[in-house]
């Protein structure tokens, strides 16, 4: 039982209590629930299984070499592209980030990688965004957010010029 799950569960209990006091009809609530589960669950199971395999197949050490300080500003586009390649949740992406950090990736490259992954993680787009919001929303959001990983990377390059604060201490 994690804290996150307990918070979610507490919210559910509060909302259920609210629904009962407001005498909401259960029919539409159950209908919406079944429809969303049908849209998400079967795909989620497949995507989760595929994600584990993809993370195993990625050449992590080779990528890490491209993210080092000697790669200079080139590290930022490489890091942004790598973020798109991790079709998995935080367990895998942060483990990969720690591998990169241990292999000598620069701080701006790591910030860019994590930002790019958090905004564009392919599994989230495929499992949640397309079925729930549709392709036209995805196109609009992707264009609006396209520059953000680069912006984050460049900002951390500037921070790095002024201070060494923010150097990663990767999990062993």
């Amino acid at each position: 039982m994690s804290v996150g799950f307990l918070v979610l569960f507490a919210i559910l209990v509060i909302l259920l209590g609210l629904a009962i006091t407001r005498r909401e009809r259960p029919g539409p609530i159950v209908k919406r629930f079944i429809e969303q589960v049908a849209k998400l669950l079967p795909r989620m199971i497949c995507a989760l299984i595929a994600a584990g395999f993809v993370a195993e197949l990625l050449p992590k050490e080779a990528i890490a070499r491209l993210l080092g300080a000697e790669a200079g500003l080139l590290a930022i586009p490489v890091a942004a592209a790598t973020g798109l390649l991790i079709p998995a949740g935080p367990v895998i992406s942060f483990a990969v980030a720690a591998v990169f950090a241990k292999a000598g990736a620069s701080t701006p490259a790591l910030v860019t990688f994590i930002t790019s992954w958090s905004i564009f993680a392919a599994h989230r787009i495929l499992i949640y965004e397309l079925p729930l919001l549709g392709p036209s929303f995805l196109r609009m959001r992707a264009l609006a957010a396209l520059a953000l990983p680069f912006l984050a990377g460049v900002l951390s390059v500037f921070v790095g010029l002024m201070t060494s604060f923010g150097a990663p201490v990767p999990m062993p």
Partner: protein
């Protein structure tokens, strides 16, 4: 039971089955099999089994979360006062709407199942596209839960603070760009009707 009459509706049932196991699902299943075979072939049987076991464990951990998150989303879907949402983060909400959306995104607990389910509710309640983009960008880059649970232990506290500070302007920037983009966005409504 008139309340749950849709459960016996053959059209609705067919739609549910198509949503669950239609073309999209088959594509996902094929991709999972493909990567699995590739993993076995490139990395060997032992690592394949280890990865598959890890996936199964993760799935068992995630299932209750997804169920709880979707129950929350269904309750909110029915009870949310739509008119108040559109006043708060609607098309005329300006910069204030973007900041409210960003704050909401940063504090939304749970994984993508809760954030995206809520995003869908907001989209159909008349929230402005800039606010929608700001919300999901803030959830993704600034989510307090993610920073505390993942950034801090995996990358260290200093890095977590740096990444958090650098991400502060991102949701509003993305929201402003979203408002300027000359694109039309349509959402698939419950009844299959398209609404701008």
């Amino acid at each position: 039971m008139a309340e749950f009459s849709y459960l016996k509706d053959p059209v609705w049932r067919k739609e549910i089955l198509r949503d669950a196991f239609g073309k999209g699902f088959l594509g996902f299943a094929a991709f999972a099999v493909f990567t699995g075979v590739l993993c076995w072939w490139v990395r060997g049987a032992e690592l394949f089994l280890q990865t598959f076991g890890g996936d199964a464990e993760l799935l068992i951990k995630l299932l209750p979360r997804v169920m709880v998150a979707l129950s929350i989303a269904a309750l909110i879907w029915v009870m949310l006062p739509r008119d108040r949402i559109s006043a708060l983060v609607g098309t005329d909400s300006g910069l204030r709407g973007l900041f409210i959306a960003m704050l909401a995104g940063a504090v939304t607990p749970g994984g993508p199942s809760s954030a995206y389910a809520l995003l869908a509710v907001l989209a159909l309640s008349g929230a402005d596209r800039g606010a929608l983009v700001a919300y999901i960008t803030a959830w993704a880059t600034l989510g307090l839960q993610r920073i505390l649970v993942w950034d801090v232990p995996f990358m260290g506290t200093e890095f977590a603070i740096l990444r958090g500070l650098i991400s502060l302007p991102l949701p509003v920037v993305a929201g402003l760009i979203a408002r300027m983009l000359p694109l039309t966005v349509t959402y698939r409504d419950e009844a299959g009707i398209h609404r701008p």
